[in-house]
C-alpha cells in the first residue's frame, strides 16, 4: 500500500509509521518512530486542524502540515 501523511488519515483510525521526512528530529523525540503504531484520536474545531495522535502511550497535538512529514500505512486492527 502507498504510504500517506499522518495528517491525511481519518480521525479514529490506526496507522503504522513507515518513514519520517524533513527535519525529523523533533518528531522522533516525541516518539514518532518508524514502525510505531499511531492513532489519530481527535481533531480540533475550526477546520479540523490540529490533530491529536496517540503514540507510545501519550497524546500529542500537532498540526496536519507537521503530521504529514510522518508517512504511514493504515493499520487494520485484528
Amino acid at each position: 500500500m502507498r504510504p500517506m501523511g499522518l495528517g491525511e488519515i481519518p480521525t479514529g483510525s490506526f496507522a503504522q509509521i513507515v518513514s519520517i521526512e524533513g527535519d525529523a528530529g523533533r518528531l522522533l523525540l516525541m516518539g514518532l518512530l518508524e514502525g510505531a503504531l499511531v492513532q489519530v484520536v481527535h481533531q480540533a474545531p475550526f477546520g479540523g486542524d490540529p490533530i491529536a495522535v496517540r503514540v507510545r502511550g501519550t497524546l500529542i497535538a500537532l498540526r496536519r502540515g507537521e503530521a504529514n512529514f510522518v508517512k504511514v500505512v493504515p493499520h487494520v486492527v485484528a
Binding site: I20, A24, G25, R26, L27, L28, L29, M30, G31, L33, E34, V41, H42, Q43, A44, P45, F46, G47, G48, D49, P50, A52, R56, G57, T58, L59, I60, A61, L62, R63, E66
Partner: protein, 635 residues
C-alpha cells in the same frame, strides 16, 4: 562537615512532577529569578538531610531531550554541560520520571547519563502507576540503567527520605572522589553533538529493550483521560466548554473579585484618612497620602483580581487542561499569526498585561513570543475599567436597549471587543511585516488529567502574589513618588492668597501638561486631560485621581467619582470624551508594562517599540474619532 556547594539539579520531561517534587523538597526556601541574558525563569531552593547535609537544588526547565530547540531547553542543556558562567555545573542530577510513561521519559535520562554526571532517578507518580496496575521491577530497571532509583509521590511528599538518603551517599562518594583526583582539572568543554536521527532511534530501541526486561505489567490505559477528552476536545462541546470556562473566569475576575477589592480599597482609604487626620498638613503628609498610598494603593487594589486569575490559570495548568485550550485555539489564533499557546497569555491580559506578558514564557518560538508580548497591552486590562466606567457614566446615557441589555453595558462590551480586534489586527500586521517567516510547529503533549494539587496551587499563588507585591513596593513606589513630586512642585506662588488656578497647574506636571496641550489638541484633549495623563502613565487608573485634582474636587469620602463624572460631562464635549476613551483602549499608559517587557525581553528595544507603536496607533484613532464626531455635530 558539609561543604556548602552540594548542588543538585532536577531535570525531567514537562509534566513529570518536577515542580511538585522540588516544592516538596524545598518548601518555601525558594528563590525565583531569571537566567541572565535570556527570558527563562530560574528557580533555586535548598534543603537539608537528617544528618545536616546542606543541599542546593535547581529546578531546570522541563525538556524531552538535551537537543535544545527552545530557550528553556537550551538552559537545561547548558547548565548540565557547565556552559553557563554564572551557574556552576551541578554536582549531581535528580532525574524525575513519570512512572506511568517510562517509554517517553527515559530518553532524557539516558542522555543525561551520557554526560557523566552522577545521577539518581526519582520515579515519580508511583501512586498513579500502581492504581493503573503497573508493576515495575525497580531492581532490574535500576541495574539495567546503572542508576539508583527512588520511587516517589511528589504531591504527597512520599519517598523524600530515601531520596535524601541517596543524595547523602552520593555526596560521600563524591567527596572521596574529589580526594582521589586532586589535581585532575574537571573538563568543562564537553563536546556536545546534536543527536542524529539514528542516535535517537537507537536510544528508543535501548529504552524498549530495558523496559521489556523491567516492566512486569504495563499500566492500563488512561480510561478517564480518554473519556474526558472526548468531551473536552470535541469540536462542538469542547468549544462550548472552553467558552463556559472563559465566562466563569470573567465572572470571577469582575464580579467576585470586586468584593475583596472593595475591602482593600476601603482599607487603603481608611489608612489615608488616618494619616491625614494624625499628621499636620505638609509635604510629608502629602507624600505619604497622595504619593505613596495613592500610587501603591491603586496598584494593590488589583491584587485580588490577579490572585483569582492565577488561581484559575494554575488550576487549568495543573489539571492538564491548559494544553488542551492551546490545542482547541491553535487554528483560530493561527489565522492571526499567533501560536495556540498565545491564547492563555492574552486571556491573562484581561486582568493585567503584566501576568499576561509573564505567561508568554510558555511560547517557545521567539518571534511568536514577541508578537504576543507586543499585543498583550492592547487587551483591555482591569486598570482601564475605572476610567471606562467614569467616561461611560459621564457621556453615555443608560437607557435600556433590549431585555437586560443597557446602552452603558453594551458600550463597555464594545470597548473590550475593540481591544481584542486591535490586538489581533496588530498581530496580523506584525506577522506579515516585522516577523515574517514560517510558522513554528505546535507539537505539544496533552498530559493525562490530574486532580490539581492544593499544595502546588497555593505555592504558585503565594509566588505570584509576592512578585506582584514586591513590584508594587519597588517600581511603582518609586514612580509614584516621582510623579507625586512632579505633580506637587513647584507650589503656587505664595503671593497669591487664593490661587487663581488649581495648585497642580503650577507644578512641573502642570507645566508639562500645558506644554503637551498643543500636541493633544488635535485629538480633542484639553490641558486638564494632558496633565492627568502624566500621573496616569504610572498606572492608568491614577488618571482619575489626577483629574479630580485638576478640577480641584474635594476628596470627600466617596463622591469624587460622581462629582467628577458630572463635572467632565459638563466641561468636555462628547467628541473629547470618546476620543479619550479610544486613547485609553489603544495607548500604552502603563510604566509597569514597559518595565516587565524590558525584563522579559532583556532589552530596551521592545518596550520602546511597544510604546512607540501604541502611542501612534492611539493618536491616529483618537484623531479620527474626535474629528468624525465633531463633523457629526458632537463637538
Amino acid at each position: 562537615m558539609s561543604s556548602p556547594d552540594f548542588r543538585i539539579a532536577l531535570a525531567g520531561n514537562p509534566n513529570c512532577g518536577k515542580t511538585a517534587l522540588f516544592n516538596a523538597l524545598t518548601g518555601s526556601r525558594q528563590k525565583v529569578g531569571n537566567y541572565p541574558g535570556v527570558t527563562v525563569e530560574r528557580v533555586e531552593g535548598s534543603t537539608q538531610t537528617k544528618s545536616g547535609l546542606h543541599i542546593k537544588l535547581l529546578d531546570l526547565p522541563g525538556t524531552y531531550s538535551l537537543d535544545a530547540q527552545t530557550p528553556d531547553e537550551l538552559i537545561t542543556q547548558e547548565v548540565l554541560l557547565g556552559l553557563r558562567n554564572e551557574e556552576p555545573r551541578p554536582t549531581a542530577v535528580i532525574a524525575v520520571a513519570d512512572a506511568t510513561n517510562l517509554e517517553r521519559t527515559l530518553g532524557l535520562v539516558l542522555e543525561i547519563q551520557a554526560l557523566g554526571i552522577p545521577m539518581i532517578l526519582a520515579l515519580n507518580m508511583m501512586d498513579l502507576a500502581r492504581s493503573r496496575g503497573s508493576i515495575i521491577d525497580l531492581e532490574v530497571l535500576s541495574a539495567s540503567l546503572g542508576i539508583p532509583i527512588v520511587p516517589t509521590v511528589a504531591t504527597r511528599s512520599e519517598g523524600l527520605e530515601p531520596l535524601l538518603q541517596r543524595l547523602e551517599e552520593l555526596h560521600l562518594r563524591n567527596e572521596l572522589d574529589q580526594g582521589n583526583r586532586l589535581d585532575q582539572e574537571e573538563t568543562k568543554d564537553f563536546p556536545w553533538v546534536r543527536s542524529s536521527p539514528q542516535v535517537i532511534r537507537e536510544r528508543f530501541a535501548k529504552i524498549d529493550e530495558i523496559l521489556h526486561r523491567s516492566i512486569k505489567k504495563a499500566p492500563s490505559p488512561m480510561v478517564w483521560t480518554d473519556r474526558i477528552d472526548y468531551l473536552v476536545l470535541h469540536p462542538v462541546w469542547g468549544t462550548l466548554l472552553l467558552a463556559g470556562i472563559l465566562a466563569l473566569l470573567f465572572q470571577t475576575i469582575f464580579t467576585w473579585a470586586s468584593i475583596p477589592m472593595d475591602w482593600i480599597e476601603n482599607g487603603i482609604g481608611a489608612l489615608g484618612g488616618l494619616i491625614r487626620n494624625q499628621m499636620v498638613d505638609g509635604p510629608l503628609r502629602s507624600l505619604l497620602v497622595d504619593g505613596v498610598i495613592g500610587g501603591v494603593g491603586s496598584m494593590l487594589i488589583f491584587l485580588p483580581q490577579i490572585l483569582f486569575l492565577f488561581l484559575f490559570l494554575l488550576i487549568l495548568e495543573d489539571s492538564g487542561y491548559m494544553a488542551r485550550a492551546a490545542f482547541l485555539m491553535d487554528r483560530l489564533m493561527g489565522k492571526f499569526g499567533l501560536h495556540g499557546r498565545a491564547f492563555i497569555p492574552l486571556l491573562s491580559s484581561f486582568a493585567c498585561s503584566i501576568p499576561g506578558i509573564m505567561a508568554t514564557r510558555t511560547i517557545e518560538n521567539r518571534r511568536d513570543r514577541l508578537i504576543t508580548i507586543l499585543i498583550s497591552p492592547l487587551i483591555t486590562c482591569s486598570a482601564r475599567l475605572p476610567v471606562y466606567s467614569l467616561l461611560i457614566a459621564a457621556f453615555i446615557p443608560n437607557h435600556v436597549l433590549w431585555g437586560p441589555f443597557r446602552l452603558q453595558g453594551t458600550v463597555m462590551f464594545l470597548l473590550y471587543l475593540s481591544g481584542i480586534v486591535a490586538a489581533l489586527l496588530v498581530a496580523v500586521f506584525l506577522k506579515k511585516s516585522v516577523f515574517p517567516g514560517p510558522t513554528p510547529p505546535l507539537m505539544l503533549e496533552l498530559p493525562t488529567y490530574k486532580w490539581p494539587s492544593v499544595h502546588n496551587i497555593l505555592h504558585g499563588l503565594v509566588e505570584r502574589a509576592s512578585i506582584f507585591v514586591r513590584r508594587a513596593g519597588t517600581v511603582i513606589l518609586g514612580l509614584s513618588i516621582v510623579l507625586w513630586f512632579l505633580a506637587s512642585y513647584p507650589k503656587a506662588p505664595s503671593s497669591l492668597e487664593i490661587p487663581a488656578r488649581p495648585e497642580i497647574t503650577y507644578s512641573y506636571a502642570g507645566q508639562i501638561g500645558h506644554a503637551l496641550e498643543p500636541l493633544v489638541r488635535p485629538i480633542g484633549f484639553n490641558w486638564q486631560i494632558a496633565i492627568a495623563l502624566i500621573p496616569g502613565f504610572a498606572a492608568r487608573e491614577t488618571m482619575i485621581g489626577a483629574l479630580g485634582t485638576v478640577y480641584a474636587l474635594e476628596d470627600k469620602d466617596s463622591g469624587v467619582h460622581e462629582l467628577l463624572a458630572s463635572q467632565i460631562s459638563k466641561s468636555w464635549s462628547v467628541a473629547t470624551g470618546m476620543s479619550l476613551l479610544v486613547w485609553y483602549i489603544l495607548s500604552c499608559q502603563c510604566a509597569s508594562t514597559l518595565a516587565v517587557t524590558r525584563r522579559e525581553t532583556n532589552s530596551w528595544k521592545w518596550p520602546g517599540v511597544m510604546l512607540g507603536y501604541m502611542t501612534a496607533l492611539a493618536y491616529a484613532a483618537s484623531f479620527i474619532v474626535y474629528n468624525l464626531l465633531r463633523y457629526w455635530g458632537y463637538g
